[in-house]
Amino acid sequence: MTFSTSSPPAPLLSVRDLSICFDTRHGPLRAVDGITFDLAPGEILGMVGESGAGKSLTGTAITGLLERPGRIDRGEIHFEGQRIDTLGAEEMRRLRGRKIGAIFQDPLTSLNPLMTVGQQLVQTIRTHMPLSREAARKRAISFLEEVGIPAPEARIDQYPHQFSGGMRQRVVIALALCAEPSLVIADEPTTALDVSIQAQILDLLKRMCRDHGAAVILVTHDMGVIAETADRVAVMYSGRVVEIGPVEKVVRDPHHPYTTGLMQSIPRVGSGAERLTQIDGAMPRLTALPDGCAFHPRCPRAFAECSRSKPASLPVEGGHVACHLYQGEPA
């Protein structure tokens, strides 16, 4: 499978046929099944899907934080031209933080409750940059200011619990970006936050990454977040990328029947609808994946071939889609 983007600068991150499986006593369960995508420098790629679709696992695999019994059983991950899925734990640890930053759903899990915000920032900065304690602290203060923490000189010496939820997530963003990584993996960064704070944080994330030239993989279940933030979006279903392409294209004119159903089932303010469009059924469990396309039991447009073979991901205008409906069309 080859993915060629229209403008071919060397991709920052290139994921090829990545599969992740879990070894259970019932045998291996494949949670991510052969996904392939590229990420250009500075690009924001949204990964959207239902819980269990494999979107978070993909992010975890890229950061090298996949834990047993999960393992990468096929495929390659290349970052800045270097293959990283085979790197050792120590090399990966150095790469994380310096080159790859991470932001998680719950800011409390990314912050050490026993250290002040400043200590954590200074530690991260000094681990990855040859700076003196003074210089690192200065940099930390300027980062806190940049992420919108009022009175950063005073708040830098406070502990995470002294910050509100939204402020904490701002600190996490500062922490993820303070060593100037070129890639940030943001896993549901706004899910735990209130709607009015969500918008602030998304906006901040977008601005910070633009200013610091970091590319972002934004993992979320919320299509609204993607639509407002991402350049491109990969729609995942049952461990596969069913559709990937520019956000406007995927949102306005989705190709895959799952994406179509997903877009239509999102309630909208002011639509005045009497009924919501629904996709019947639920995403299959990993233990009971149907043959062929995993979506076919729920698909309104399924035909015989869909239950027989898994569709390959083929290029359609601007993106790629994995659906038998488009297999006959010329690329």
Partner: protein, 310 residues
């Protein structure tokens, strides 16, 4: 493979469970289960399988006293593990002794569990003054060493009862002493689990249909807090057997006329240095094997029921 098999029989569910899988795949656990089962069965069937009745004085003969095990020089094939100073068969004494030890263990665990569960459920569910009351009692209980309480209880009972009743009351005293000091663990565990479950929505749903608190406690919450209780119960069974042995060893437990493993060890201990080692070694080995096996089973239960280790 599919998980959607139904209707599901109880047995099938057990055989497919993680619990059983952990059991099946661990040799240590299997061995522990085998040892426990063997000792429990032997103890239960003691009157039928024991070669002699160690309490039937008419069958005892001082000619047979202090005979070594069969394989040692001077051993007698009638007495597999030798005899004690009164000519009692050590093997039979162990079989009967395990019976007493296990009885004390099981009964005291059952009582402690029942008391602890009820107090834990009530404290955790109702909270407030009820909770404060029971938990202060628990705190006080925890600040006394078990052995001390047992000695105290035993002392009081011995003081209160006439001498001829001491021996017959020994079992009850032991069970009481062990129960009194171990219920706290169950109560605390159940209480903290109950406080978590109480705030779960299925409990709200039951409240909304007007179920009485005790129906909610026993029908809804109890099944969901039993996991850790079973782990404690297993480990406490081993502990109760040890406490019993300790008390009997110290002479405040079972009398020599109705000996438990602890009593046998105490009695045998007096002959150890005169070369009659078998009277103390075999009961001790049995005790060690039993306690170790039960503890290993407890470890298996704890690991298998801990979602983090799955």
């Amino acid at each position: 493979m599919t998980l959607e098999v139904y209707p599901q029989s109880r047995l099938a569910a057990v055989l497919r469970s993680d619990l059983f899988y952990k059991f099946r795949t661990s040799y240590v656990t299997l061995a522990a289960a085998l040892v426990t089962l063997a000792i429990v069965l032997a103890a239960l069937l003691a009157p039928w399988i024991a070669p002699h009745d160690p309490f039937d004085v008419s069958t005892l003969s001082l000619w047979d006293s202090e005979l070594p095990p069969v394989w040692a020089e001077g051993g007698d094939p009638r007495f597999l593990l030798g005899t004690d100073n009164q000519g009692r068969d050590v093997l039979s004494a162990i079989l009967y002794g395990s019976r007493i030890s296990l009885a004390v263990g099981f009964i005291s665990v059952a009582f402690a569990m029942a008391i602890g569960i009820v107090i834990g459920l009530v404290s955790g569910y109702f909270g407030g003054k009820v909770d404060a009351f029971f938990m202060r009692i628990a705190d006080v209980m925890l600040s006394f060493p078990t052995i001390l309480v047992a000695l105290l209880v035993s002392g009081i009972v011995r003081g209160a009862l006439p001498r001829e009743m001491h021996d017959s009351a020994a079992l009850i005293v032991l069970v009481f002493a062990i129960t009194v000091t171990t219920w706290v663990q169950y109560a605390r565990t159940v209480r903290s689990s109950t406080m978590v479950e109480r705030g779960r929505e299925y409990v709200y749903a039951a409240q909304l249909v007007g179920r009485r608190p005790f129906a909610i406690l026993f029908r809804h919450i109890l099944p969901n807090v039993m996991g850790p209780v079973l782990v404690i119960a297993t480990i406490n069974l081993a502990m109760a057997i040890l406490i019993e042995a300790t008390l009997s060893f110290l002479g405040v437990g079972m009398p020599p006329t109705n000996p438990s493993l602890g009593t046998l060890i105490r009695v045998g201990n007096e002959y150890l240095f005169s070369g009659v080692w078998w009277v103390v070694i075999f009961p001790s080995l049995t005790l060690v094997a039993l306690v170790l096996a039960v503890n290993l089973l407890g470890d298996w239960l704890r690991d298998a029921l801990n979602p983090k280790l799955r």
